[in-house]
């Protein structure tokens, strides 16, 4: 399982690097999907199969399809690639890279100072997840559902057909 975990992490990192360096948006999205799949595999290796399946279903399966759908609708073509190239010269990466490096160093220091209580990964059954969600974390679940409801109402409002005005 450890090997699988590190392999999946390597794939995830490589795929994510590919995501931010691709000029073609659809290719970038494909790598993002790959990255999400790798993350799902990491969850699986860590003993959380339920989250792994949800990661694939919800993130890689549903949300990313929507992204692809929207990008297909926009039909960018070569012009989009050229625009990406103009907007993303290598020097644009310097700032975020430095910030990310600081975070990484921070993380490494914290990990070094505090030897993790990693222990053996323990398989969490779906039942345990649901008990946790609807037990101690009920409030969070309700908040999230409230947020989704707000999103739903907003989407309905945006997509609503305006009633025809009388004096038009």
């Amino acid at each position: 399982m450890t090997i699988a975990f590190y392999l999946a992490s390597a794939v995830a990192i490589a795929a994510t690097i590919m995501v931010i360096t691709r000029r073609n948006v659809v290719h970038a999205l494909l790598y993002l999907i790959l990255s999400l799949l790798a993350v799902a595999l990491m969850f699986f290796a860590l003993g959380a199969p339920f989250i792994a399946a949800l990661e694939v279903m919800v993130y890689a399966g549903a949300i990313m399809v929507l992204f692809v759908f929207v990008i297909m609708m926009l039909n960018l073509g070569p012009a989009g690639v050229a625009q990406e190239r103009a907007w993303l010269p290598p020097r644009m990466f310097v700032g975020p890279a430095i910030l990310a490096a600081i975070l990484l160093a921070d993380l490494l220091v914290l990990l070094a100072g505090n030897p993790a209580s990693a222990g053996q990964p323990q398989v969490v059954a779906p039942k345990a997840v649901s008990l946790a969600l609807y037990g101690p974390y009920l409030l969070a679940v309700e908040l999230a559902s409230l947020l989704l409801l707000a999103g739903l109402v907003g989407a309905y409002h945006l997509g609503r057909r305006e009633p025809k005005k009388e004096n038009d």
Partner: protein, 316 residues
């Protein structure tokens, strides 16, 4: 036999038999639909035309494998592989018999749903990468259709999961020892069946292909084995959805007298034939009708089913 070797044999065996069944379906479908149309269907190549599928495969292999110059090459090649892979992967969690089955995941059902949501990509990306009008239209239709129907495909199964108390397909089959779930979950069964047809984009919900409107939809630009893989992927979908219906609603391998594998085969065969019957008799709905059925009829039905099941379980 040692454990790894045994699992390897099972994996290869299941893959080989699944592929064989899928290929045989092409022949079966043509024969059965011919029967329903008072024709005879393919009966020239070999006994009862059984070698027709071999002839077809040879034909597909030897056709020109053409990639259009305007296509997005890597994605164009990747798309047909995804549908095959996702479909075949799902067979890993299906319990064919008490001792036959590749893996018994405790999230087996979710794995199936995850793989079927991966299958959407092949159609969408195939349509996009072909870089032609009809392919793009097919891909867009596929994206919206499969995404919507996936939602209540999952929801319709929630009732089964609630009754069985597990995501493991093996546990779900065992839970049906005293009555198949098709009786208490009749509504869920209907919703899953319809969502399954839409998910495999078979007729009557074949809007992504829709020969009479979009040439061949998302695989207009595909030829040779790349087309063959889309073609096989569709039949993988039929076999998969039939096997899932069998497992989830009809008690899987359970049944008297006959061996478990035979029961599984008979039930799956029945649903495959039902798929062909749908193809042979129903007209294709309009696109907005399809989406309206989905969101305004199927979703409330699936919700209602879950609600009633939940109330029943809570009361018990």
């Amino acid at each position: 036999m040692t454990e790894p070797w045994r699992s390897l044999v099972v994996i290869v065996g299941v893959l080989a038999i699944a592929l064989l069944v899928i290929m045989a379906q092409v022949w079966l479908e043509r024969r059965i639909i011919a029967r329903w149309q008072d024709r005879r269907g393919p009966n020239r190549v070999g006994p009862f035309g059984l070698l027709q599928l071999i002839a077809d495969v040879i034909k597909l292999f030897t056709k020109e494998d053409w990639t259009p110059p305007f296509a997005d090459r890597p994605v164009f090649v990747l798309a047909p592989a995804v549908v095959m892979t996702a479909g075949m992967m799902s067979f890993a969690v299906i319990p064919f018999a008490p001792t036959i089955g590749i893996v018994d995941l405790n999230i087996g059902l979710l794995f199936f749903l995850a793989m079927s949501s991966m299958g959407v990509y092949s159609v969408v990306l195939g349509g996009w990468a072909s870089n032609s009008k009809y392919s793009l239209l097919g891909g867009m239709r596929a994206a919206a259709q499969m995404l919507s129907y996936e939602v209540f495909m999952g929801l319709s199964l929630a009732g089964v999961v609630a009754l069985a108390g597990s995501f493991s397909l093996r546990d779900i089959v065992e839970a049906q020892r005293h009555g198949w779930f098709i009786v208490p979950q009749a509504l869920g069964f209907v919703v899953f069946l319809i969502a399954g047809i839409a998910e495999t984009h078979r007729l009557p919900f074949d809007l992504p292909e829709a020969e009479s409107e979009l040439v061949a939809g998302y695989h207009t630009e595909y030829s040779s084995m790349k087309f063959g893989m889309f073609f096989v992927g569709e039949y993988v979908g039929i076999a998969l959805v039939s096997a899932m219906i069998t497992t989830l609603f009809l008690g899987g391998w359970l049944g008297p007298w006959l061996p478990p594998l035979a029961w599984f085969g008979i039930k799956t065969f029945f649903f495959m034939c039902f798929f062909y019957l749908m193809r042979g008799s129903l007209p294709r709905p309009r696109y907005d009708q399809l989406m309206a059925y989905g969101w305004k009829l199927m979703l409330p039905l699936a919700m209602l089913n879950l609600l009633v099941t939940g109330a029943f379980l809570a009361a018990r």
